[in-house]
Symmetry: C2
Subunit: 204 residues, 2 copies
């Protein structure tokens, strides 16, 4: 472990690589030009997202509404790219989704220690963030079983959430991915390219 | 300084208070029942927010859109409660605001070390978060001068952002504050009560 840290510091000092230190494993941030991989990386590193909905609540009916939700696309290092959520219709944004499932999820490396450690301001384009457009839909059957495992492994307290809240599993059905990373403005990624990409590559 | 830390650990050990350790100063999280104070506390602790807008961009025109922006209501410990931002119309969400300034900003203590340190999941109601409804408006004159100071002190790299981007100062003109903290569902706070509250009290 100590050897690993020394190795990491040496690489950081060389200024060649930006690395995330995870328990027992090192993850390398993808190169800026691999936009789909970067999107998958951010989606897998973050364990919560900000969701925008169209509000159904007085006095802001029809206005945009932002709220935070825990997410998981699977274990860190092997996520599928699908943002799963554990929701209840007692929640105000979820009530919006029942009327209009169109939503947007944003996730930023500002949520991790990465941007702080690198000295990147949250609004700096080097502090990569992604935005999903699509719909949030309830899931059942084998996909719900997978979502439960993906969520509860990264959010262990979910297992104890009050049973009378009628929790259900949901996913963001992604129609477009927006990537704000590096300079030159926003880039977009199709769902196809997004799901084809792999966020992590093994070190050799 | 060492004496301060010992004092803090003693209090934490006693389980009586939840404290934030800031350079040279200690901040106490407000009690749950002081909803307006809690909102001011979260707004002042966070240095970025997720903004929801109604998109003007194809193929998601009319749909909600979530994006991250650096914010500041002033120095930690003495904010005014007004979320200021430094924006450019080159930015996709800002282009949405030019068509419809209605927006929502959410800020969560999940953005700070607080929830992690306390072991609260980002979606746990003990991991306090707030949502502003209102409009994002350009500001000028003395308010812009104040916003510049508030923003640049907490986001020092802003001073170096490219001058050809036509940056301007903006504020969230708050019409309603939603507070998700503790159990029992969302609470709302009027702008009047929000601005009357003080986020921090001195220790005696």
């Amino acid at each position: 472990m100590e050897e690993m840290e020394v190795n990491m510091n040496a690489m950081l000092a060389a200024g060649l690589l930006l690395l995330f230190a995870m328990p027992g494993e090192l993850y390398r941030i993808p190169p800026h030009e691999e936009v789909a991989r970067m999107a998958r990386f951010v989606a897998n590193q973050c364990n919560w997202a900000s969701m925008a909905t169209i509000s159904t609540h007085e006095p802001v009916q029809g206005q945009p509404f932002s709220n935070a939700f825990s997410t998981s696309d699977g274990p860190v290092g092997s996520g599928t790219g699908v943002p799963y959520m554990y929701l209840t219709t007692m929640e105000i944004s979820v009530q919006d989704l029942k009327v209009n499932p169109q939503a947007s999820l944003s996730m930023s490396l500002a949520q991790t220690d990465f941007c702080k450690n690198q000295g990147y301001d949250p609004q700096d384009p080097l502090c990569a963030h992604i935005i999903f457009s699509g719909s949030v839909l309830e899931i059942n059957g084998t996909e719900a079983t997978f979502a439960k495992k993906a969520l509860f492994s990264r959010h262990p307290e979910m297992v104890d959430w009050p049973t009378d809240h009628n929790w259900f599993f949901a996913k963001m059905n992604i129609t477009k991915v927006w990537v704000l990373d590096y300079f030159g403005g926003v880039k977009t990624v199709t769902p196809e390219d997004y799901f084809k990409a792999t966020p992590y590559k093994r070190h050799h």
